[in-house]
Symmetry: C2
Subunit: 249 residues, 2 copies
Amino acid sequence: MTQLQKHYTRRYRLTAAQCNAQRELAPAMLVQHIIEVATEHADALGVGFKNLAANGTLWVLSRCAFEVRRFPRLLEEYSLTTWVEGYNRHFSERNFEIRGEGGEVIGFARTIWVSIDMATRRPANLSGFDFLQEVVSDKECPIARQGKLRPIEPPQMCHPYRFQVSDIDVNRHVNSSRYVELIINQMDLDTYDRFFVSRFEIEYRHEAHYGDEVEVCSAFSAEGDALLTSINLDGQTVCLARSVTSPRE
Amino acid sequence: MTQLQKHYTRRYRLTAAQCNAQRELAPAMLVQHIIEVATEHADALGVGFKNLAANGTLWVLSRCAFEVRRFPRLLEEYSLTTWVEGYNRHFSERNFEIRGEGGEVIGFARTIWVSIDMATRRPANLSGFDFLQEVVSDKECPIARQGKLRPIEPPQMCHPYRFQVSDIDVNRHVNSSRYVELIINQMDLDTYDRFFVSRFEIEYRHEAHYGDEVEVCSAFSAEGDALLTSINLDGQTVCLARSVTSPRE
């Protein structure tokens, strides 16, 4: 067996075509990159999309939390480095370090992945991949673990949305990063000109599909420090999120 | 002055996180790549985002037509090569060749770019960049030029859409590739499982902004060979498109 790489880094450059209205990497695009880099590292370790598919299983992102001092900016070279913090037969904890131009550390992310059976959509047993214990790294990820997210009662604003062709991913579910866009869209463009999302947490609970009509509901936390969002489908919670914004300098 | 490269190529690999429900590159993502690769080539030629911004102008994609035998597939390595077909002080014609794994040619695209003044949003005079004549290439682009697109009367289906934070680009307008998604979304997921978009044309007429509420209206052409779409804002045409689908093998 070839040497297993504990750390995997992918470099990016934020082109004008990719950045958002604030000329930065959008939060949804960061989550998309997190999924991409996780997938590539898993591929390199022999536990990627192809390997799991051969087994009738697939990785599903269950939780993601990121914290940034700032987002990568227009034309900036940046990178994501990922490593496995913990692993057992039910889930894997994978962290990320985000660096900007010149190697400046600008943020971190924590994710939890579960493996599910493609046919039954139930958790799969990953004990066949025990060699992954070897790649667990003790690299530090200095952001808080994800807190418990609860449904919002009562919501302060709700928007309906029906999932379209362009929202559907390789597994025929709604794309994980598309939920992030719907959550970000709960606040105005003007808000993001004055504030940036300094910490974001999302918990994926149920899969939504093409044509599903959801309600995106939000409320400010009792402490007023965060926007809590719940995406609901027929009384079921599809996902829950918590966004903390900080003023721009 | 350094040697100006007539042809510019960028390589991609379609990751699971990036592909659509048909496990292919989505049409909107292809348009996104086209803009990205055009921008990078313009940067390399010294007429990119930064150079034009210093001049108070920017490039705007006016028309785009692509034709593909198939789209790049999940995990496939593919590339886009671009070159300038023609250039004058008002607009530039830039073409693209799309190759799949092993160099197989799978499609072409034609684009027309205009330069506008950032402040007035009126066409800018690009005569200062006459050295671009040197990079005009006679490489062949064997797909038809874009036909004239007309508003649809009467539409067979209309869907309202209000532009959100996640739809806005670096220039504070709606992202060019987002319109493509809205157009693609006029047909069902099931349709794209049986057919693929073998030719697509879009003409951008007016800029839409955050909060604008548009109507996306479509009708099949009289010949029944294409879906014509018009995105309208308060009686004004934002963009027009024509999508031809072909059965999958």
